[in-house]
Amino acid sequence: MATATGVYNTTYRRDFALRHTKAEYARLALLLVVAVVLPFRLDHYWLGYLDLILLSSIAAVGLMILTGYTGLISLATAGFLGVGAYTTANITTRLHWPMPIGVLGGTLMAAALGAVFGLPALRVKGLYLAISTFAAQAIFNNRFRDWRWLTNGQFSVSANTPKIGSHALNSDFRWYWVLVVITALVVWGGVNLFRTGLGRALIAIRDQDIAAEVIGVDVGRYKVMAFAIACGLAGFAGALQAHYRNIVTWERYDFDTSFLLIAMIIVGGLGSISGAVYGAAFMTWVPAYITRIGQGIQARSSGGTPLIIEKLPAIQLGLFGVVIVVFLLFEPRGLARLWQRTKDYFRIWPFRY
């Protein structure tokens, strides 16, 4: 638990190091051990959820960069997930190019479209920008549903199962290893981003964009770049998910998914990359737990109370909303802040502050 108890850095390198004490490195090693052991202990169903969490984390990190660090609210992330997915599906199924090209194509296409849809950010701010992204999501929705060229006239496009060497990625277990490495790289990249000038420029834009402009940060260019990065990551996650699920349908890229991603970064804690991961885990697991609780109740009351069975979906939906509202009332700054408080408690103990 021991974080640095003070700030004492004698070189620039130590100043922006990611970890400062041996104990922190030990914690990191522990995390590594857990990450390696976990898939062997979980059953097939929870492993599937874990893979889903990893995929969501990639998109959530992107959104965190955009919304948490640059202050630009985007409600269109699901649309960009879809762009990545449809692009890779079309590239691999219709052009028959290999999967890595498909995923790369998906990422680039999403980044390009992200830059385009980020242009309103040059004109409007805050809630107005949020609403413009809402409109972008509606437009994406409409195109995914009705543009038959995209799906070659069918209801859905399939994406193939990728192979690494001679191993086909056809189980949750195998996907886990690929995803955990990719997610780790993305998280690390995200954290590193904010040690660079680009990252600092983005934070400056969030905090005081006019002042940033005054000191020479090209606000317009960086805003569009933030959109491109975030949407590119979302496209990357969407492309991976397409190959994970082997089929791309438009229902996955709806408003609900966009709201879920926003919920992830808010519940995780705005302004912290690890918050994106915490939020992704929380928002994926809470509905699953609620479903399990519901099924448990259903199993125990079978034949007894049909009322409960009828009302169960309502309770689950309602409960989900209530959990988030209550959580945000208690800790509006999210899980990352909760974790920070826990660490601080131990750091300062036995003092109170």
Partner: protein
Amino acid sequence: MSRFILLTVNGLANGAILSLAALGFVLIYKATEVINFAQGQFLVIGAFVVYNANVTWGLPWPVAMLVGIGAGILLGIVVERLILRRLVGESNLAVIMVTIALDAALFGMVLFTWGAEPKPAPKFVPHGSVHLFGDVAVAADRLWAVAVAVVVFVGVALFFQRSRHGVAMRAVADDQQAAMVQGISVNRVFAFAWALAGAAGAVGGVLLASVNGGTSLDLESFAILVFPVVILGGLDSVLGTVVGGVIIGLLVEYTKSYMNVNASQMLPFVVLVAILIVKPYGLFGQVRIERV
């Protein structure tokens, strides 16, 4: 030509309902600068409560309407007191998230109480068709919707101009600190704004249910169109809501008929983006000038 007239009347009616739905939205934003994503549920709850009062409890329709409006007011005040009050000072995004989560929670509540099976439309709304100009047959409930919306908006406008509470709300919307200095209770005004939004939602919901031909959960998907309306009109302008609602309502009907349905679904959002680029604060919104 008769087709055009029919579309115009329908567009006006839909626009009127949209404006009512958007009114609650704008009221809340004007007073508290919060975007209420749960406004759609206010509509749905209003419609269901009126149905319950009218059909299940057998109350006569004026009483049922009052019960519905009362429920809307209560809902608004409860939400404001219990939830929004705690989030004063938190980031915009946290508040948006809470309203989104609230939307889900309210949806669950509606589903729990009334179930998923759609209920019939309010019977007290005039049915049948009215013949205008000979061969144009317009549904009577649409004309009724326009009439009710006009009454409500005139009432709201008078309220803001003449009544003390209305003027107090405008003062708070203009400058909170100055209003507090004048002795206006900002907390009261916030509660008032939410209560009004709940009431407007209830009326809008009933109108929507009657036009929709049924009271059901998918009334909510109509509420998405509220966004283009408020952006077009201006997030903090009541007049803008009316104008925006009418324009969007008409636009959707015309494109639906003269082009195709898909275009009509995309068009309001394309308009939204266009307005944001050309005139970000909408037709009647207050232009924010940033001072560093």
